[in-house]
Amino acid sequence: MNVEPIPLNASLLLFLGIGYLALLFVCGAAAERGWIPVRLLRHPVIYTLALGVYASAWAFYGSLELAAHAGLGYLAYYLGAAGAFLLAPVLLVPIQRITRTYQLASLADLFAFRFRSRWVGTLVTLVSLLAVLPLLGIQVKALGDGIDVLTASHQGSGIALVFCLMIAAFAVFFGARHSDQHARHDTLLATIALESIVKLTAILVVGGVALWGVFDGPQHVQHWLANDGQALQEQTPKLEAAQWRTFLLLFFAAAFLMPHLFHITFAEGLSRQTLLQASWTLPLFLLLMALPVPVIWWAAQSRAEMPIALPAYAIYMVSEHSGVLVLAFIGGLAAASGTMIIIALALSGMVLNHIVLVARPPEARTDLYGWLRWLRRALIIGVIISGWLFYQSVSHQPDLSTLGLAAFVGMAQCLPGMLALLYWPGANRNGVITGLLVGTGIWLWGLWLPLFIDLPLPSLPFTPLTPADAPLWYQITLLSLSVNILLLICVSLFSRTSDGEKSAAEACSVDAVIRSKRMPLKAVTVTDFTLHLAQALGDEAAGREVDRALKALNLDSQERRPYALRRLRDRIQANLSGLMGPSVARDIVDRYLPYRHDELPATDDIHFVESRLEAYRSRLTGLARELDGLRRHHRQTLAYLPVGLCVFGDDGELLMWNNALTELSGINGDSVIGSRLDSLPPPWSTLLGKALHSASSPLYKEPAHLHGQDYFLTLHTAQLSGYDSRGGSVVLIEDHSEMKRLEDELVHAARLASIGQLAAGVAHEIGNPITGISSLAQNLRYDTEDPALLETADHIQQLTQRVTRIVNTLVGFAHGGHQALPMPCEPVSLSVISEDALNLVYLARSNDDVRFFNTCPDDIVVCGDGQRLTQVIVNLLNNARDACQPDGQVQMSAGISEQRAWWQVRDDGSGIDPSISDRLFEPFTTTKPAGKGTGLGLSLAYQIISEHQGRIDVASPPPGHTCGTAITLWLPLYPQDDVKPYAQNSDC
């Protein structure tokens, strides 16, 4: 049977390839222009499919080759990666946390950050570059050789170059729009996801053709394996268990160390949930990719008459149908192009940050962003072209496995460093550099350089421990990794670890004990930040970076809090790290935004530690979770304490401001925590400063003006000290305003009681002379018939009776505020007593110009004591008259409403002073000058009306008026079957 594919036209493949890549451009443009909904672009499925970039041309072609050479050993490529993602919660999520927090976009960034060394970053970049070149070469080789196989010609190399240029153009257009490498590339991810769909579809369709076209279904495959195929399978070498495990280890490491995988997983903003979800979605994708591989291989074997020379391209031997061949070719192109795009983006960033910018730092460039963008674009093109050049250099290598193993073993040299980074805070840069240098050297000498030149291989030191017939890749892998790990451990143990490394190790460690220090910055305002940074970045870039960091932290440009400025510095460093890598970013920030080294020792930034603990709360487990639960409980206890509480560090920085204090002060804790004591808003800076300086004794009832009112606060201060104390002071603030008011009232009541006793004494003394005057007036009536004298005698008697009543009232007030006698219930005509009251007021009037009007109707009769009601209305009229201007008016009116009588005195005077409106009816409350009023009038009126089961309404000014006062008395009506209403006769 002829199983050689029917040669396709090279021009057709070129056209199809260009057409497919053009489709990617259209897809990218559609996403850029918003034709694809953002919801879809950011769907977790898109991220999962983008992670499918792992399945490169190796998965499409190399797996077939590995299946031919190692049987099910080909599965190691898929299972290794599946294992890495299955460990996402304990392996990938911690890496994601670090890369996101510190804006680290590549493996080199991560290493440079953790080991505080630009040399480590540069070394990791070089190792990645050298390791990835063979992988890039595989992609181009698979395309070129595949075209050669399909067209039975040697035009593959040229066509592959055209594809490489188009792929580079795509990467430049859609991957290097932003200078920030940590920026999200939705368009790019969507395109890579599309490529994953294309390659998955292609391999499933070809697998389906193999299963149901070449065989008659799964059972037929089994039958063929038991009969015709058995001899062929027995010839297939089987991997030793140790070699299989080494394979697994290499592909496990590749799944998160390879630059393109690291980029998609950690630099493209996958959420934690999506990453955790990928622990099963990616293995599922890889299962679907791996499933057709053996079927395709067996189908090719079943159709071949002789051993297959190029097993990698057995996919083209399943069918002669041009449609199937083209689909397989497009699938391979999709697998290769996606990988090349992401590798180019990732490597360009690493080379830029750790080689170019380290060699040539940006010194206040006018167009920093543009310069970085163009550098990156040039590097992207350079990386892809170098992949094509590598392919040209190794074109004599017939199989992909050799190239692939060279790549994967090289990248695995970073695995010991990565594990140490996560799980061993004791590792240092010396250990990592030494281990990496020696391990990489062994790898280069054993696997990489032999791709180009023949090197003599001396007897390997580890050879006695491995089987004599063990393949070279296996021996090199074991030797390089063992030496790498050994040197990393030994050198780290016996060399000094810098303080910077220790702090970065804490930040990176899975069980991190983050003890961020509270150090003051030299820059004390946001403007200082911009000015200082401009020296390194130029004015425009400095302003943009500061604004970006402020926006990310939701801070104001007027921010001065030391805590906020420290966060701003961290954010700027993280953002610059995303732009230029952690080494350059750290250099810039350390140089231009330095800390101030005061004499005071730096203390822990407790608020920052707490905010991070809050953020990681759901990830704490076991004892840590229990402890965090306790911490939250104690914090809540303090936060919800019904007494104001604040805590200051030894440097005067505010660390806590609880809810009660927020309510009392009207100042939200979030806006002041992290401030210095002296920058708190008044009166708190003075008040709390005073409390802190008199820590030994509490401050009692300190006056403070808050929310327009006077408060009295008691402050207690205690120093925080003891074992493992972080220092500082705690201040408790109690609001004693109410207590102070009650105390004042008590004093006032005591004063009133004294006055009442005094008044009772005076009244008693006045009573006798008044009785005498009344008797003399009575005698005068009998002794004369002169009408003028009689009228005078009448008036004297009326006035003495009034004095007597006042005296009686004072005595009653002094004896408990109640009238000694029970209140009579007589019919009282409001009209009549209004008129009587007016007459009395006229007698004592001092200002002729105030006019009184009585409009009370005659038919309103209330139940009560006429004399006492007259006393009330006289008091009201006198007050009204005193409040009026010379030409003022006082209006008396009455009516019935709601089954009660209302009786109103309204004036157009100056109104009631608001300062006494709350205590209008308290005794001795008056605004009149001394000697003009006792302040008892309204108090007595209130008492009398209350005894009449009535009430008093005060409106100042009355509704609809701009000045004056209206006092309305509400009194019970007298029953209808009444007798003659009370009228104050001349005897009263």
Binding site: G71, P89, L225, A226, R245
Partner: protein, 58 residues
């Protein structure tokens, strides 16, 4: 944390036992798709563990 321990157990257990897979290649007594069935079962188990983890974190 217990979920993570199960995952760790699965991965390292699988790592140690996985060489047994090699015997399946071309063995007519073993269904050729059996490794994929085992793989699929592991994925189902991972989905279940993921749901359990989500409930734990709520």
């Amino acid at each position: 944390m217990y979920v993570y321990r199960i995952v760790l157990f699965l991965v390292f257990g699988g790592y140690l036992l996985s060489p047994l897979l090699m015997n399946g290649w071309g063995n007519p007594d073993i269904a050729w798709y059996r490794p994929f069935l085992i793989w699929g079962s592991l994925i189902a188990l991972t989905i279940w563990l993921e749901q359990k983890r989500k409930l734990d974190e709520r």
